[in-house]
Amino acid sequence: MKTLKDCEKNQKVRVVKLHAPKELKQRLISFGIMKEAILEVIEYAPARSTIEVKVGKMNLALRAKEAELIEVKPI
């Protein structure tokens, strides 16, 4: 299973499924990270601890630990 955490910088991916617990899932959805959404990895923070992704027109920062719960496939 490929997750957002494994993506390269500037890669565009499509969300397949959210494996997050309920509350985090709601949070992600409220930011637009849901099934079929297209994400683009913009930047990694030092030590790849945090990832900046683009969802629609918004940029979002996520921890690697959360990114791991987002199943994606490349497009």
Partner: protein, 712 residues
């Protein structure tokens, strides 16, 4: 704009109470500011408005009450602010909703709009930031959008003030009309289930104020309020199985085990439909935006953090370098003021009260206004440009190691300005443990009121070139201590699972000069007001405590000694000695002497001990106390004009270091302590904080004192 006036509420006018709702950082507060000329705090990161604020104004015979609610992405009750907003919207204390959306990011913003639409309330949509959208080549057909949603949509811009009156007109006309049924349409499977429930309700002639469709949607969405209302109804026994069946179908259709997720997806596809109909974006979008270009540098994995540190260093350099220029003038001004006013007062005691008490005390605080202004400008820039979130992004990994959340960075930086808003902004942290932890260490971020103490001591013990660096070191040192304290607390008192970090990175915006000017002005005026009222009163009290009781015996003894002395120098020395003796036996001297043994291991004399204790009220009082105490003791010596000289003469380097350490760590001012107690949710937390900071301050000051002794 002439028709909009700020007025007290006239009794006869018609009232409209509007709830201002929108996602974070879409310019709600700024919009309300431009509508009513109110002055709410505005920043460029999510969560500037942490509590609801009401603004009143009149427009076309209507009396408006606009309630500015904290931004919320969705009704998830995730953070305190979201709970504030959600609760307010669910209670019926308002007439209609103005939903403020960011025109440059309509799709995301409409997600909240759809949730609002299922609430059965009147809504007006403000397509805000339309000027920015235009620049980005985004065209929105507002009329078609109004028609499709069944909600009036008005293009507005808080910056150019475009569309503000039109928005208010729409609010008025919506308030006068009958409510329309929401035009929210779902996918076929969901619509089918809705129809089933609606026809069931129709069959049983269920009585309700909402439409059946609205009830059906809310039931399917698992809306608590609708659930409880129907739960006690006799039809529930039959309705419940229908509902369970329907939910199952919907979840199956969306391949999800969470009906909320399913509905979010429903909304998203509805919104996508709306967007394709009404938004025309020019194709040149693929070019790199300015934000991306700036981010390539500012959040660079390697250079990002050094750049941030450089900015902070620069800020403190400026604070000291530029801030020290007008200091001489202010000092001269207050010296002149003291002399001039002093000359007009005949009574010796009153003269001393005014000159040595009030003017010396207030002057010592006002002296640092230039420093404060520069610091506030720096923080305002950080807030309004959008850089704050970048730093949170860069530092999250690092913060995480210390048990802190990346978003803790925002209250922590605010803490450099003032602890009070910092405590309030800690509300953006959802998890109570994270929030408490952050609250506990905000005090380690030295606030603006401590700056005067640092500037004073840095100026007294270091050359002008070094003083800026020393200042920077003090601030960074405090921040690091805070991190270590956080780690200790996380491992002991606040153990628990980590909170996820999901944060929006807003677009960079050029800070508006007006906005910065306004923020800085308000904060500076607050500082000055404090100097004029609280500090002046405290100075008077300290003056009194340091002048009384009069000891006649002592005075007479010295009077005769002075008379006997022949040389002018000798006379001066004797009267100087009298002043010191007098001070030592005053009330303040007694308090100081009483607590001196406690502070002796840190190398403090009784005057410093007193200053620390008065500093519990406010940190500015530390400076004014020192000002009063040293000016009384030394005033006879005409050579040492300034407090800086008095300090460098009377206090050893090691004691000064220990003093700074205590100031850095111990309890912030009284007002901040009150806010802390409120935000933490109990007086017991205040005692924890008091014990924690006092013990830490004392032990670290002890260590620092002894280390400094070895080197000096």
């Amino acid at each position: 704009m002439s028709e909009i006036e700020k007025k007290a509420c006239p009794v006869i006018a018609k009232h409209i109470k509007v709830a201002l709702v929108g996602q974070p950082n879409v310019g709600k507060s700024m919009l309300i500011n431009s509508v009513s000329n109110a002055h709410l705090h505005v920043g460029n990161f999510s969560g500037v408005t942490v509590d609801k604020t009401e603004v009143l104004f009149d427009y076309k015979g209507y009396h408006f009450t606009v309630v500015d609610l904290p931004g919320t992405y969705a009704f998830t009750d995730y953070s305190i602010e979201e709970r504030v907003t959600h609760k307010y919207l669910c209670d019926d204390g308002y007439d209609l909703i103005i939903n403020v959306v960011d025109s440059t990011n309509l799709e995301k913003n409409l997600q909240l709009t759809s949730e609002l639409m299922s609430m059965n309330k009147d809504i007006v949509i403000a397509l805000n930031m339309s000027d920015e959208a235009q620049k980005e080549g985004i065209e929105i057909d507002e009329e078609y959008m109004s028609e499709l949603l069944g909600i009036p949509c008005v293009k507005t811009s808080a910056v150019t003030k475009e569309g503000i009156e039109k928005l208010l007109d729409s609010v008025v006309s919506v308030g006068e009309q009958e409510r329309q049924e929401s035009k929210l349409i779902f996918s076929e499977p969901v619509e089918e289930e809705i129809t089933k429930i609606v026809s069931y309700l129709q069959k049983h002639k269920h009585e309700a104020s909402n439409s059946y469709r609205n009830i059906a949607i809310n039931l399917l969405k698992n809306n608590k309020k609708t659930y409880t209302r129907l739960h006690d109804d006799p039809i529930w026994t039959e309705l419940q199985p229908i509902l369970i069946e329907a939910t199952k179908h919907i979840e199956l259709h969306h391949d999800s085990d969470d009906v909320k997720e399913a509905f979010a997806e429903e909304y998203a596809s509805f919104n996508k439909g709306i967007i394709t109909e009404v938004v025309k974006a020019s194709a040149v979008q693929e070019k790199k935006t300015i934000t991306q270009k700036i981010d390539n540098i500012l959040i660079h994995p390697l250079f990002g953090i050094p750049i941030f540190l450089f900015f902070m260093w620069g800020l403190f350099q400026l604070t000291f370098e530029i801030g020290s220029i007008p200091m001489e003038w202010i000092e001269a001004l207050f010296g002149w003021l003291g002399d001039t006013i002093g000359a007009t007062i005949a009574n010796e005691d009153v003269r001393s009260l005014i000159v040595d008490g009030v003017i010396a005390g207030v002057g010592a605080v006002v002296l640092f206004v230039p420093n404060i202004i520069i610091l506030f400008i720096g923080i305002a820039l950080l807030e309004s440009t959008g850089y704050m979130s970048r730093v949170a992004f860069l530092l999250d990994g690092f913060f995480h190691k210390f048990g802190l959340h990346g978003q803790s960075f925002i209250p922590l930086v605010t803490g450099f300005g003032c602890s009070i808003p910092a405590y309030m902004s800690a509300r953006i942290l959802k998890n109570d443990r994270d929030r408490l932890l952050t609250l506990f260490i905000i005090g380690f971020m030295s606030c603006g009121a401590r700056l005067p103490v640092y500037v004073l001591f840095a100026g007294a013990f270091f050359s002008a070139e070094m003083a800026g660096n020393v200042l920077f070191a003090i601030y960074i040192g405090g921040a690091f201590l805070g991190l270590i304290a956080a780690k200790i607390l996380k491992l002991t008192a606040f153990k628990g699972a980590d909170e996820p970090f999901v944060m929006e990175m807003p677009k960079y915006r050029l800070p508006s000069v007006k906005l910065i000017w306004h923020t800085v002005l308000t904060k500076t005026m607050m500082y000055l007001k404090k100097a004029g009222t609280f500090i002046a009163a405290a100075s008077m009290l300290i003056w009194f405590l340091s002048n009384y009781p009069h000891n006649l015996e002592l005075e007479e003894e010295f009077a005769s000694k002075i008379e006997l002395a022949s040389l002018a120098d000798e006379k001066k020395e004797l009267s100087n000695e009298l002043a010191v003796k007098h001070l030592e036996q005053s009330y303040l001297g007694t308090i100081g002497k009483f607590s001196e043994p406690l502070f002796e291991p840190l190398g403090f004399d009784w005057r410093m001990s007193v200053a620390l204790q008065t500093g519990l009220a406010a940190k500015e009082v530390v400076v004014s106390t020192l000002g009063v105490l040293y000016s009384l003791g030394d005033e006879v010596d005409e050579e040492s004009g300034t407090l800086v000289d008095a300090i460098s003469k009377n206090i050893s380097f090691a004691s000064a270091v220990a003093f700074i350490v205590v100031i850095m760590i111990y309890l912030p001012c009284l007002a901040a302590s009150i806010v802390f107690t409120r935000e933490a949710g109990g007086i017991k937390y205040f005692f924890y904080l008091f014990a924690f900071t006092s013990i830490l301050a004392y032990s670290l000051a002890f260590v620092a004192y002894n280390i400094a002794l070895m080197f000096s």
